[in-house]
Every structure is written in structure tokens, then in C-alpha cells.
């Protein structure tokens, strides 16, 4: 499973979680999702879900690293 991450304007990070039903449709990929959701001009990365911390205690302090 994958996730898309991209930085917020205030230094944080947003994480896009794909819907399995949407991803199962022909032509729908993580790249397509990134093009649709990530604001134009923002950098983004497609990462494995295992790279996302499961402890969300300090979720609001997470940062995007290129």
C-alpha cells in the first residue's frame, strides 16, 4: 500500500490515503491521484505506508523531507 505526501505552506505535511475502490478502477494510479490532489507546484513523494509513523501523538508536528 502506498501513500502520497506533500508539504503544507506552514511546514507541516499532508498525507493522501487512496480509496481501494478508486484505485482498483482501470487507469487510476497513485500518480494520477497525485496529479489530481496535490496543489500545482507542490513537491510530493509516493511512499510505502510502512514509512508513515503509526504513532500520531505528534502528528501535527510532522514535517516533509525531500
Amino acid at each position: 500500500m502506498k501513500r502520497i505526501i506533500y508539504p503544507t505552506d506552514d511546514g507541516g505535511v499532508k498525507i493522501i490515503i487512496p480509496a481501494p475502490a478508486w484505485l482498483a478502477e482501470e487507469g487510476n494510479t497513485m500518480e494520477v491521484l497525485a496529479q489530481e490532489i496535490v496543489p500545482a507546484g507542490k513537491p510530493y513523494k509516493i511512499v510505502d505506508v510502512s514509512e508513515i509513523p503509526s504513532d500520531r501523538t505528534f502528528r501535527n508536528a510532522w514535517e516533509y523531507t525531500a
Binding site: 499532508k14 493522501i16 490515503i17 489530481e36
Partner: protein
Amino acid sequence: MAGTIIVDRIESDASYASSINVAAQVTFSNTVNFGVSSVAPVAGVYSPTTNNLAFTTASTERMRIDSAGNVGIGTTSPTTFKSAKLAIRNSASSGESVLAIINNSSNVYEGAGILLGSTAASTNYGATWLYHTYNTNSPTNSTSYAFNISQRATDGTYVSNIWNVDYQNSVSSWYRPNTSALQMQLDASNNLLFNSGYGSAAVAYGCRAWVNFNGQGTPAIRASGNVSSITDNGVGNYTVNFATAMPDTNYAVVVGSGNNVAANDVGNLTHISSTSSVPYLHYETSVFRDVEQLFLAVFR
């Protein structure tokens, strides 16, 4: 007499026997005309009335082509039935079909079992009709029906429609058998009406998008419809992204949450400002929190 007889004309004089028996194959190199006869052959062809041709088996007429070219099977008068060009009638008391059309091809997708159509310029006259009618006259229902399935009672009387497509009013309707109760309809405004159990058919307002997701640990979507993804913006702060955008921002959102831990001051917030996504915030005791069960549905 063995051999071949070549003649230009065989004609029976009324004063003599009127049958000719030939114990061999007869080949006609030109047309064959049948004179009018009141006696049906055992198994053959004859003309029962002027310009009519009938086919018989067991001394009984089975099929007729009338003077106008109309064909009747089981009836000597095909035009009786709505001026049909082809009428097939089964007068058996019960248990027999009138017409069997069987597509027994290895791939049923390659051809229809029955294909109805019309190339008439005017749809008023070119409609495809399928209905039950007790009498041979017009059906009881409206002549505006392009396609109609109706039913009759055991005494043969017309009872009600089951399904009809009314092309003049652009309405397609489904009724409950044995009643005239409308159960479902596609109306002229393209609205779908159905009886959901409260007594009558009404416009059904569909859920345009929905999602059930887990906000704890590594947030994940359990199930969804018309949702491409959720953006995790922070603790208790999400954005639901639609796969297909709403037509405008006048939609309604229903949000909910589930948690094993009872808490006061629990709420879910949203604010509609986009056709492509909608925010979803969950809080408990005035603080944004992640919980295991988060739900959102959109209606328009």
C-alpha cells in the same frame, strides 16, 4: 404409364373427374395456379377463396396467405388482429405456446433471441408494441405507450399495466402486478421515483459519495463510493476527495464518528466550499482527535 409427358396445359373439365394422380415427382417449369375449391386437400395446397392460398395437413387448413399477402397461422383471417401482416393464433385450451423463439447459438451475445424495431419516420407510428389485450381491438391502455407489458385476470379481462414506456410523455413506469400501484418510475425530468416502503413512489435522492475510514494509527479507508482518497491534514483533520465532483456546492453532508470510549463534547465539523472535496474535522472535549470510526456521506 412410365416415361415423361410434356404438356402445355392440364385442365379439368367440370363434367369429368377433377383430380389427377401422378405417382412421381412433378416438376413445373412455369407458374402453378390453383383454382378456387371448397374441398381442402388431405395434405397440400389449395385456394379456398379467390386470390387466397391455403396449406393443409390432415385435411385441415393450417396456414393461409390472403389476397393482400397477409399470412395467418392458426387463423384464416390474419388482418383481424390489428391488421397484422403475420398473425399466429393458438386456440388450444391451455398448455401450448404460440411462438417459440430460441437462440441456441454457442455464444448468446452474438445475436438476439428476439429483436423488435422500426424504421418508420414517425415514432407515433413506428413504436414497438408488446402488450396483452383481451380483445383483438386496441389495448385498454394508452396509445402513447411505445412498449408495454400488461396482465390479464384468469377470466381473460384486462387488469393492469406491469411496465410501460410512454414515449409521448417521456415516462417509464413499473407497477405492482394485480394492482395499478406505481412502484417505480423514470419521469420526464430524469428523476427516479420509487416506493421505498412509505406508501407511494417518490423521487429518490441518491447518495453521491460516502466513505468509512479509520483515523487512528495509519489512517486507512475501509470502504467508499465516489471517493478517490482522503487527505490526512493533521490530528482529527481530514479532507474527503471526490472521484467525480459534485455539480455544485449546494450538496448536503452527513458526518459521524464511532468510538469505544464515551466522551462528552464530541462533534464532527465540515464546511462546504468546493465541488471536488469536503473537509471533515472530528473533536472530543474541544480538542481535535483521531478515532477509529469516521463516516461521511454526501447527498445532492
